[in-house]
Symmetry: C2
Subunit: 155 residues, 2 copies
DNA sequence: CTTGAATAGTTCGAATTGTGAAGTATGTCA
DNA sequence: TGACATACTTCACAATTCGAACTATTCAAG
């Protein structure tokens, strides 16, 4: 069955092949993420991983290609659970900086390590292929963040 | 932990870079898809694209890494709108084959073409990079479909 | 050929989630 | 000072997905 699927894939354009691979990987990773951390939802995991350093909520929204109200809800949950704190941005009192607590940093380190394993196991790529895929993925992400965001929020 | 952008990026493993690229691309593509066809939801688009030939619903569920009940709902919508028909599988009267109508085939052709454009514009990759990315994406998808259907919904 | 277990798909209720519009506080510019 | 833009929040609502229970069919014994 999967062999047939693979063969049919080869008749599609590279763009569609790429999209199908991306979708499969995304769905698989979502599924895997959902089954590791019982007290963190998937969006909470995403946000933790993105918070490699304190960030404003608007920046985070741009980074996650979503709207501010979604960020508010997720930040509320993470703050309530003690993973991060809101700190007023000294440069703009309208804005909040999301800052990881020690607990949050620890959880993030665990997540990053686990996510790496999930990716390797889901993708089945070797180190060289992973590096190449990562290179292209970075390029894509750069392009999306540059072109896909209404002006000004980059940072 | 420092604020230097370069150090931040280099501190991310290739796996995490790859994941972030995949997530950004997925989110961007979803957003783009949502804004082209007013009478098709995103899952309906996905299903149409997957239906390059008649398929059983269970196969489609495995292919889309989801559960049968989700396929039922989406197939109902597409059937109701005249994009496909259910035909009894001659080899197994429990199963249904989803077969595109002319309208469905036409819509699928449009979607595949549009999706290609969306990918090129979202990713910003040139042809060679796209081909390489597609090659790795196919490999990943193959690996996921072979190994990745856990807790046996389908086989 | 009968029985019981497994499989394909359906139905439906519930949980999750994301969104957009309106609201509050602050910043910016003339 | 006033007008408007921006950063985030609140909230009600729609969309989506899942899982458990159900029907119909197939398969494997006996």
């Amino acid at each position: 069955m999967t062999n047939e699927i693979g063969q049919r894939l080869s008749s599609l354009t590279p763009e569609i092949q790429a999209m199908m691979g991306v979708y499969a990987l995304y769905w698989k990773l979502e599924e895997s993420f959902a089954s590791i951390e019982t007290d963190l939802s998937q969006q909470e995991c995403h946000m933790l991983v993105k918070l490699d350093q304190p960030k404003r909520m608007g920046v985070l929204a741009a980074d996650m290609l979503t709207v501010p109200s979604t960020i508010t809800a997720t930040a509320d949950a993470l703050e309530g659970a003690g993973y991060l704190t809101r700190q007023s941005d000294p440069n703009d009192r309208r804005a909040w900086l999301l800052v990881l607590t020690d607990k949050g940093t620890e959880a993030r380190n665990m997540l990053v390590a686990t996510a790496g394993e999930l990716f390797r196991s889901a993708s089945g790529l070797n180190d060289a292929e992973t590096a190449e895929f990562a290179r292209l993925a970075c390029k894509i992400r750069d392009n999306i963040l540059k072109t896909g965001i209404p002006e000004g929020l980059t940072k």
